[in-house]
């Protein structure tokens, strides 16, 4: 029987079995940001450790940074302290930092791929759960906590348990107006937010094979929302074409050697899986979440559930979520009035996302009662979008056009919901309080659906606008 990509990459990075029985796994790329690293660097300092592989470690700022008014020192004293700590830590430990003002700054999961750092066959770690994004390249990418950030800084290794692999095959053509975001939301809706615990998700099938790298990243990004710490797509010509010519990807003959190695790591046709699931792309529609976890979602033409419709074990959760969201059981999700529209985040703030949203927005105006903002995923995405005039389309329609960062996905900077505002959001989590207001409400959807909601003032089917 053949091997999966996960097994191949795992075997090549396994250093030894630790006395505890965990695997010591070498980390090929460590991405660092300002929020989950300061305590880790402090421990290194206190214990006299160094960063073992500073050349395999890269830092940027994304979570806490403002998206307007970036002059230093920031008005936000805690943000200033946090960025200053990262600057000091990177300087002291020899870690490259792509700071504000650098053309390479951006959300860590957007810039890794964009710069060519993210490559097939790597093990990647970052103190952020959406590190699974990098799996789009056929890397095995783990979200980790601060003590593990310390471990990777000090040893370039993780002590970790093996994962099972579930192959999720999506077959057929996606209908117009149905995007990668709808694919992953549909997968999570079907398998549940805890269905992936203990698993890596391998996304496969002709639908995934036809997806661009941006689309694959959107799918892999939300693996963790389905409970799977790791998600990946086998590397193929789409992957290699994306990487060719990127600043930090191999070049010339090295690229050819790299391609041969990358290709060899794809799952074998006769690989064994712990579980297999299939979805038909033709059956999918635009998806909108109605509740307080990403699995609580319906097609845009459907109604939100009533507690009585669901099995006993789920009833309390459904009732609680409907109550928090202020939605009546059994009402259509379409027509839900929104207050804020947010296009951004590591899930959906790449150039192709902004293009799709702009296509909907062009020639229309943001509804009078809606505050709308676009936060590009990186300085690079922002510049590329401006070269195409996308910023003008968004501004003319009444969107704010901001600088790159995580922004309103988690509301660690000034971009927050207020009170019980309802936000149509292209981000990844609709948890209670997620977008910065303890009572704020989030409806997750694709960037094109957010654009449609922004100009309509309520949830609508984007297919009616792009006809």
């Amino acid at each position: 029987m053949g091997q999966t990509l996960l097994q191949k990459v795992w075997d090549r990075h396994a250093v030894r079995v630790l006395p505890t029985g965990q695997t010591q796994l070498f980390v090929g790329l460590h991405l660092v940001h300002e929020v989950t690293s300061p305590q880790a660097f402090d421990t290194l300092r206190a214990r006299g450790w160094t960063v073992q592989f500073p050349e395999r470690t890269f830092a940027t700022v994304d979570h806490i940074v403002p998206t307007i008014g970036r002059r230093r020192p920031f008005l936000d004293v805690m943000a200033e302290d946090m960025i200053a700590a990262l600057e000091r830590n990177c300087r002291d430990f020899g870690v490259p930092l792509w700071n504000l003002g650098d053309a390479r700054q951006g959300i860590v999961h957007v810039i890794g791929p964009e710069l060519g750092l993210t490559q097939p066959g790597l093990t990647i770690a970052c103190g952020d759960s959406h590190t699974s994004t990098h799996g789009a390249f056929g890397a095995i990418a783990f979200g980790i906590g601060t003590s593990q950030v310390r471990d990777v800084l000090a040893t370039q290794c993780l002590a970790i348990e093996p994962l099972k692999v579930r192959r999720i095959a999506v077959r057929g053509r996606l209908p117009a107006g149905v995007y990668a975001k709808d694919v992953i939301l549909s997968i999570i809706r079907r398998l549940g937010v805890r269905g992936g615990v203990g698993y890596a998700y391998e996304y496969a099938g002709d639908t995934v094979e036809r997806m661009s790298m941006d689309e694959r990243m959107t799918v892999c990004n939300m693996s963790i929302e389905g409970g799977a710490r790791v998600g990946y797509v086998n590397p193929d010509d789409t992957t290699f074409r994306y990487l060719a010519g990127r600043p930090l990807a191999p070049a010339g003959e090295a690229f050819d050697r790299a391609t041969a190695w990358w290709r060899s790591l794809a799952s074998d046709p006769d690989a064994g899986y712990d579980d297999e699931v299939e979805l038909q792309a033709e059956d999918l529609t635009p998806v909108v979440t109605w509740g307080t976890n990403p699995g609580q979602a319906v097609g845009v033409g459907e109604r939100v559930p009533a507690p009585d419709d669901v099995p006993d074990g789920e009833r309390r959760g459904v009732a609680d979520a409907l109550d928090y969201m202020g939605l009546k059981p059994g009402t259509a999700i379409s027509g839900t009035r929104i207050d804020v529209a947010f296009i951004g985040s590591c899930t959906n703030a790449r150039l192709s996302d902004l293009r799709e949203a702009a296509r909907v927005v062009k020639g229309r105006r943001v509804a009078g009662h809606v505050k709308a903002l676009v936060v590009p995923g990186s300085a690079g995405v922002r510049a590329a979008a401006e070269r195409e005039g996308l910023d003008e389309i968004f501004r003319t329609a009444g969107f704010d056009w901001r600088e790159a960062g995580c922004s309103m996905c988690l509301g660690m900077n000034p971009d927050k919901l207020e009170g019980r505002q309802v936000c149509a959001s292209s981000s990844n989590r609709n948890f209670k309080g997620r977008q910065g207001s303890p009572t704020g409400r989030t409806l997750l959807m694709s960037p094109a659906m957010v654009a449609a909601a922004a100009v309509s003032g309520e949830v609508v089917d984007v297919r009616e606008l792009i006809g």
């Binding site: 250093v15 006395p19 979200g143 000090a154 970790i160 615990v197």
Partner: protein, 203 residues
């Protein structure tokens, strides 16, 4: 690292915290990730949930005087899902919780808790329900989590516990603080790195 405390038996009063899929944004809202240390983060544990519960007239279990001083948290399925913020287990641990007994845990939360010496042990739904009901019926019930025997005992009941063998061994031998272990035999790490073609840039 060598010298971390061995963790085998944890005893204390129980706190039943009902609910599925309690995410890390609820455990510690992102606005409390803005400090560069974990100092004092426990003050904000479940802050928004606690405020909402108080507003609804029923105290959150963390604030419920019946469970005051509890150190064993009892939870349902997929506890700690969402963000990888270690701030979540840090806030729980610093609040004086020494172990979490639940139906299941998110993978990242479980790992983050283990590496700071906070065991998360699992048991089937029916057993967790019995334990929660026992604590609710008799607040102050002493709960004992024994990692050696993989048992949870309280006055009137007991449960068999599950935890991956490697993580259990790490607690029992004091090897849960991993950095020292990962630095041992470091020549083997260099060896693996030297065999990976990308480390030398595919030259």
């Amino acid at each position: 690292m060598a010298g971390a405390a061995r963790i085998s038996t944890l005893s204390g009063r129980g706190i039943p915290l009902r609910g599925e899929d309690i995410d890390t944004d609820r455990i510690i809202p992102a606005r409390y990730l803005r400090a560069i240390t974990f100092e004092g983060i426990d003050a904000h544990l479940f802050e928004d949930d606690r405020a909402a519960a108080a507003g609804g007239g029923r105290p959150h279990p963390i604030d419920d005087p019946r469970f005051a001083g509890g150190s064993i948290l009892v939870v349902n399925r997929n506890f700690g899902c969402g963000s990888s913020r270690e701030h979540a287990p840090q806030a729980i641990h610093r609040r004086g919780i020494h172990a979490i007994v639940g139906e299941s845990f998110s993978d990242i939360f479980f790992g983050n808790a283990a590496v700071i010496g906070l065991p998360c042990v699992s048991a089937p739904k029916a057993g967790i329900e019995q334990l929660m009901a026992a604590i609710e019926a008799t607040p102050g019930t002493a709960v004992r989590v024994d990692l050696e025997q993989l048992r949870c005992d309280w006055d009137g009941g007991h449960l068999s516990l599950q935890i991956p063998a490697a993580v259990r061994d790490a607690f029992l031998t004091g090897a849960w603080d991993t950095t020292g272990m990962l630095l041992d035999r470091y020549d083997e790490v260099r060896g693996v790195a030297a065999r990976l073609p990308y480390v030398a840039g595919f030259r």
